[in-house]
Amino acid sequence: MEMKKWLATVGAASVLFGSLLAGCSGGEKAEQTNGGGKAGEQVEVTLAGWGGNPTEQKLLKQTLDDFEKKYPNIKVKYEVIADQYMDVIKTRLAGGQGPDVFYLDAFEAPALIETGALEPLDKYVTDDFDINDFEKPMLDAFKGKDGKIYGFPKDYSTLALFYNKKMFEEAGVEVPRTWDELREVAKKLTKGKQVYGFGVAPELARLYYIAESKGGKVVTDNKASFADPKVVEALQPIVDMHVKDKSAAQPNEVGATWGGEMFGQGKAAMVIEGNWAIPFLQETFPNLEFGTAEIPTINGKKTTMAYTVAYVMNKDSKKKEAAWKLIEYLTGKEGMKTWTSKGYALPTRKSVAAELGFDKDPLRAPLVAGASYATVWQNGTNLPIITNNFNNQFVSAFLGERPLAEALKEAQKTANSEIQSK
């Protein structure tokens, strides 16, 4: 009996002691961060993002240095989250340790906006910031259901067709303009298992525009609807190219990790990739001669995807004024110009795009042209669940293990039951 009491007392004491410790550290932090961006006072804003290649890192550093010069009382602490970016961000936000400003992919935006973890930015915007200068679809991707803007897009990329000039010359074929042409050309370019005509990424993120090209919808009312016969019909050619024509392959079939690598190693004559592949190919495979073209038309219509990333602000940030100054600078005309100057990503501001003239760059022109008709990679809060299920099952159809319609039906069922019980 007495023993038990003792145990209870010690237990209670240790818990108290623990909370005391926790309380202490909490207090300290509150004092430290009680800045709020008053003039003359040093404020440190944390900015989190995923790393890029060294040149991108250099560009960002330069942009941040310029910012610090302009606002000497604000210091930016840049943190790189190298892997599983969203998992880390969500966990840190839930734990109250989130960065003040961070990158957010349009794909993840609706779900995160819905949780209320982000600060609406409308009230900070001034006329000087010129909100109408942004490409509208990219900006709309970060609007909540309440119509408020939760982030400003820092850059974007669309998809384009990358082709190996030498292989095209050897095979004596022209760059395809329609999807049917692409299929024929791919057959001619294929050399057994050594070179595939077309490298495919069997993922929804890269197939979404194709899936919807025949009038079907991948997502309806925030639920999966990709088992629609029209979607199946639109995706069937991709599967057929792999299973029947044997003119298409996914990167891991030839030992590559992604399309750019597959293309660079000369194992695919064509791939559909984004802006990010251009510097990668130029740096890693300097002898490769390649060109880009707009994605072949389907049913006479031009289509492509657009991927965009924004700077967003943590709602629990204690330095919102300073955080806004940072976002304002980074997505402002000056900061965006520095950031996109080398063409690693395309500027979301029309004025910056016009000034930098990427629409005249032969490799980037097809990507810039895509912006006007691209589908932004985003669709409601459940797209991550839908995508995961689609990707998992689509592969089995792509590998020819079962019919596409059946695989997609099952994936849709799984996705929707997961959404329903959420």
Partner: protein, 299 residues
């Protein structure tokens, strides 16, 4: 007199607990606390981001498992993995230990070589194996050289889980081998001598003396193996970069828990319920194993 002794007892117990308190504090904070909290979470619908909310939903999280196709696939994959990996790694460990204890030349060298994989972190090991499993990697080259068919080890849904199994058997067996080796030192030589006098062959000695003598250790190895294999996570996580693909073939229960806890928003409660169910499953498997091996000694 009686009072005195109670007082003394109090003081002694007090001093004892005072010394224990740091440990108790750590235990409460990092082990018992989280376990209780996880059980609490399992009965709630939890939203941690933004506006934190806990809504009591009773057994809903557990009922949900019945309709969850992915949970069923994950469970099936995990069971398949356990059923194949545990016997293989146990037998391999026993055979390795017996050969390394037979007094061969250079056995110390081989002990070290065999033990090396255990010292490597599983994440590094997985990455190295992924290189070897690459379509143009070492393993396919070797297979081709000896005229066997090659596989897309990482991308083919039929093969991916087997690739992880092979890797794990190779990596974990040596650890259990060391445990067997230690136990083998305890087997009295007199038993072998007596068997030799009776004209027993090497195989008979192994089967009738070594194996029965090591039974308690085998029981330990199997239980630890069960617990370890049920919790398969890092290898399949790295293999599929967190998705459990291709075609859900490397989706394990713990990977699914991870996905629900950190990938999808607002399913932390369901993840906790799955974790709770897995704990019960491991508990049952362990009890079954003990029942079957009729082992009296406790671990």
């Amino acid at each position: 007199m009686k009072r005195m002794s109670t007082k003394r007892m109090w003081r002694e117990a007090g001093a004892g607990y005072l010394f224990l308190s740091p440990t108790l504090f750590v235990l409460l904070l990092f082990i018992i606390g989280p376990i209780l909290f996880a059980i609490f979470l399992a009965f709630h619908k939890v939203q941690l981001l933004g506006t934190t909310s806990f809504e009591f939903v009773g057994l809903d999280n557990f009922k949900r498992m019945a309709d969850d196709t992915r949970a069923k696939i994950a469970l099936w994959n995990t069971l398949k993995y356990v059923i194949i990996v545990v016997p293989f790694q146990t037998i391999l460990a026993l055979v390795l230990a017996a050969t390394l204890n037979a007094g061969l030349k250079g056995q110390k060298f081989f002990r070290i070589v065999y033990f090396l994989p255990t010292l490597t972190s599983s994440a590094v090991l997985t990455l190295i194996f992924m290189w070897m499993y690459n379509q143009n990697g070492l393993i396919n080259h070797v297979l081709k050289a000896v005229g066997l068919p090659t596989y897309n080890w990482i991308g083919d849904p039929d093969v991916a889980l087997n690739a992880i199994m092979i890797m794990n058997i190779w990596a974990t067996a040596p650890y259990f081998m060391v445990i067997y080796l230690a136990a083998l030192q305890d087997v009295p030589d007199s038993l072998y001598e007596a068997a030799e006098l009776d004209g027993a062959s090497a195989w008979q000695k192994f089967w009738h003396i070594t194996v029965p003598y090591l039974r308690p250790v085998t029981s330990f190895v199997v239980i630890m193996g069960l617990i370890g294999t049920f919790q398969l996570f890092d290898q399949s996580y790295i293999f599929s970069s967190g998705s459990g693909g291709p075609n859900n073939s490397t989706l394990t229960v713990v990977l699914l828990i991870y996905q629900y806890a950190f990938k999808t928003l607002g399913t932390m409660g369901y993840a906790a319920a799955l974790a709770f169910a897995l704990a019960i499953l491991i508990f049952i498997a362990t009890l079954l194993q003990r029942k079957l091996s009729k082992e009296e000694s406790l671990y």
